[in-house]
């Protein structure tokens, strides 16, 4: 009796594990599939019956064609630059504000804080038209600054840094103050070193968000040299005829940097994403 029960329990356990694994492989399959497609020639893609593996594993012609047909390395450079700047600016401004909100009391303290948190309720699309008009009036259309304008700081960053700095012991700060350290010095030498994990989390997630951004760059960018990776990727599609060997190669190029970051810093990325709740 007892033996039968354990057997059925361990059977259920195995079945669960098998289902979970099958689901995970299904989720990952589309990535494997575009990677395989990107190594095939157009005739191979159209072959019936369908063939899984490419004829030549070393066929990188599609990748060469992607870089020939569009300034894709420029797109990669643009995205890397924009994502880095947005990560850094977000770190600086969010850490300053997080410190101010966590450790000081001043007139307007809670009004400002809740106003900023309230922005999480404002969808970006609700402000995009006036923002576009401002960027255009300031002559920033088609410039890096114009693309970055709404991405320099995120509400999530301010919130995250306030939470992180809140738990830095007040004694550390008081001790530094007694030692004659100025407010600025305390911020750089006491507060920031104490919250490095939160800073890293914010930098990673912000980099990924800006790299994957599409809506706003689409609004403000005109010239090919200012396009981002997501825009370059969409340049390989059109309504009538899509060369999937090239689209898949471009897609692989566009997701590879993010996947690398993800694989290396997996734990932090997941943690950061779960903490964000939603993109803001």
């Amino acid at each position: 009796m007892r033996g039968a029960r354990t057997r059925s329990v361990s059977l259920a356990r195995w079945l669960t594990a098998a289902l979970v694994a099958a689901g995970a492989l299904t989720v990952v399959f589309p990535f494997v599939w575009i990677a395989l497609t990107s190594l095939k020639t157009p005739p191979e893609i159209q072959r019936v019956p369908l063939q899984l593996a490419p004829d030549h594993w070393g066929n990188l012609e599609n990748y060469r064609e992607v870089f020939r047909r569009a300034p894709f390395s420029r797109f990669l450079l643009n995205s890397a630059l924009l994502a880095t700047v947005s990560a850094v600016s977000s770190l600086v401004v969010s850490a300053l504000a997080g410190y101010g909100f966590a450790k000081f009391r001043f007139p307007g303290h809670s009004v400002f804080f809740f106003a900023i948190i309230g922005i999480l309720m404002v969808p970006f699309q609700s402000v995009v038209v006036p923002l576009y008009l401002w960027v255009s009036r300031l002559g920033l259309l088609d410039t890096y600054l114009g693309i970055l304008a709404p991405d320099l700081v995120s509400v999530f960053g301010v919130f995250l840094m306030r939470q992180a700095i809140e738990v830095v012991p007040d004694d550390y700060i008081a001790a530094a103050r007694i030692d004659g350290c100025g407010e600025w010095g305390i911020f750089w030498r006491v507060v920031l070193p104490a919250v490095t994990p939160a800073l890293a989390t914010l930098a990673i997630i912000k980099f990924m968000w800006t790299w994957n951004e599409f809506f706003w760059p689409l609004v403000v960018v005109n010239s090919p040299s200012m396009k981002t990776v997501t825009m370059g990727l969409i340049g390989f599609t059109n309504m009538y005829f899509i060369e999937y060997n090239l689209v898949t190669a471009a897609a692989v190029v566009s997701v590879l940097p993010i996947l690398l970051i993800f694989v290396i810093l997996q734990k932090w990325v997941v943690q950061a994403a779960v903490m964000t709740g939603l993109k803001g």
Partner: protein, 301 residues
């Protein structure tokens, strides 16, 4: 008033402290005022004006609201958005819950491996995700139709079919969001103290009873939160539609944000676009406030 003058001209040590705090938050406050608060007010004002050729604008009262809210194209996009929500939100949440429950039963090493795999689609851009799926959906050479034919089913038109385009887009959204929702559920599951289950087992509760009477009620806050997040995510769908169908075929996948984009940046009817912007803002505001109402209510067992 005096508080503010003392902020500018500190007299005491405490005044200087207050000023320091104020200066620390000032860059963020100024930034968000410029990028969100001012434009939001401008959107609201802009929804009452029609921009005339040449840049002048004319006050329309609620004229543009009337025009947008009587436009069948607008209501078609609202209908499509709601259909998409109805298709994708429940399936994402149910699947994520199932996956999280499955993962929770595995040993740590396997759990983190499979969990990471579920999470991968969340890390890539929505444009890439949409194009990857457009290739899977390809009617002639796509792998999905090959698979259907292999098991003796007729090939489908997926994104090019009037009836299948919304379910097909919904499937992309499920794929993108599944891992994220799973992580939220998994974190919550692992926070449930083991004693709860031991107590339930002592009372003779079966595995199913434990799931219904212990696990799910304890997960209730996360389930509500994930539902709201998915609602917002699907409501704001843009990249996926723009990258694949552009609202087609025949408007069958035209949703609200792509319509807003076209109105503003293709036809330059900024007033009407502002009306839609206000509409989107109000809808999401109501959804979020509802979420707070639900969260503030303490959970009883």
């Amino acid at each position: 008033m005096e508080r503010w003058t003392r902020l500018a001209f500190p007299r005491t040590y405490m005044d200087r402290q207050r000023r320091a705090g104020f200066l620390f938050v000032l860059p963020a406050v100024a930034y968000f005022a410029c990028v969100y608060f001012v434009p939001l007010v401008e959107s609201l004002i802009g929804s009452f004006y029609r921009t005339l050729p040449g840049g002048a604008s004319r006050f329309m009262g609620f004229g543009l609201y009337e025009r947008v809210f009587t436009d069948p194209v607008f209501w078609n996009s609202v209908r499509n958005t709601i259909k998409l929500l109805a298709l994708s939100v429940p399936s994402t949440v149910a699947l994520a819950l199932a996956v999280a429950l499955g993962l929770d039963r595995l040993t740590l090493r396997w759990r983190s491996l499979w969990a990471a795999m579920y999470f991968v689609p969340f890390a890539v851009s929505l444009v890439a995700a949409a194009l990857i799926w457009q290739w899977l959906y390809e009617p002639v050479y796509g792998v999905l139709n090959h698979a259907l034919v292999l098991v003796g089913l007729p090939p489908q038109k997926w994104l090019q079919s009037l009836n299948q385009v919304l379910p097909s887009l919904a499937a992309i959204n499920v794929w993108v969001r599944l891992g994220f929702d799973t992580m939220i559920f998994l974190a919550a599951l692992q926070a449930i103290p083991g004693e709860y289950y031991e107590a339930a087992a002592l009372d003779g509760a079966s595995a199913r009873q434990r799931l219904w009477h212990v696990t799910l009620p304890l997960l209730n806050p996360q389930i509500v939160m994930v539902c709201i997040l998915e609602l917002i995510f699907n409501f704001k769908i843009f990249d996926q539609v723009y990258a694949t169908t552009q609202g087609g075929p025949a408007g069958a996948s035209q949703t609200i944000i792509p319509l807003l984009y076209d109105t503003a940046f293709k036809y330059f009817r900024l007033g009407e676009a502002s009306v839609m912007a206000v509409f989107v803002f109000v809808v999401l505001l109501v959804v979020t406030l509802l979420q707070w109402r639900i969260f503030r209510r303490p959970v009883d067992y």
